[in-house]
Assembly symmetry: C2
Homo-oligomer: 128 residues x 2
Amino acid sequence: MSQGNLISIPFVFEQPCPIRDVLDRIGDQWSLLILEVLEHGTMRFSEIERAIADISKQMLAKTLRRLEEDGFIRRTLYPQVPPRVEYELTELGRSFLVPLKNLIAWANENHQAICEARSDYGVKNGGR
Amino acid sequence: MSQGNLISIPFVFEQPCPIRDVLDRIGDQWSLLILEVLEHGTMRFSEIERAIADISKQMLAKTLRRLEEDGFIRRTLYPQVPPRVEYELTELGRSFLVPLKNLIAWANENHQAICEARSDYGVKNGGR
DNA sequence: GTGATCAGGTCTATTAACTAGACCAGAGGG
DNA sequence: CCCTCTGGTCTAGTTAATAGACCTGATCAC
């Protein structure tokens, strides 16, 4: 609170900033995964559910709604019984695939290194 | 479970796959943000805390430990009183900055479009 | 000497988020 | 007549995150 011991920090990520705003949305357990899955084309709810496997219906529905709300995907409901709902990437969503695929490529390339880091850490802190 | 109605899905993201493994770790509220903050150099615990502002101490400590465990960052403890602890990116962490900065650049470029999508969605589904 | 202060956490209690699983509509098939 | 199909929603129980008190122990003001 006092001024004397303030360390100068030129960047502060408060909530109303673009980076925070976007990262807070896509930075969750499922969003990136769903977008990656939808790269392969238009898919139905149950197809996405099967592709990700361990997502719960509720989280899938919620995450899809949020992605739709943010303009990443488009939801099309065919009023049949049983209902048919299809999800596909919008232009915005497709443009997001570019940085996303970079990220995924990095993940594939460096997964090994991460695993090694984990086991090294485990050795160093083995006891507990 | 029966075979008849299986829609062919050539890609299934089960947990033990590199993409899932990496995304499950960095795909949370704080990891990406912390890594981005640390781009600016070695920082102390309280500096990071101040830079992100609305992170709780517990989550910061936990996320830092996980990032350290995965080899993204290095933690250096100077045994003084009061304690001094510094965090910095490792080689691996720095290499991750490349895809991360792509992501952030995308976020900056498209933040406007996302906001517009949100308000459009709000109009369309205004009642509820 | 007494007490406040510092950094970097941890501990606890409250609150929010997520999960699993039941349930629903309503047309078509056996 | 009952069962099945899809895309969800609802409820109950579990897990995770948050806010805030607390801890250490050397240093400094009083």
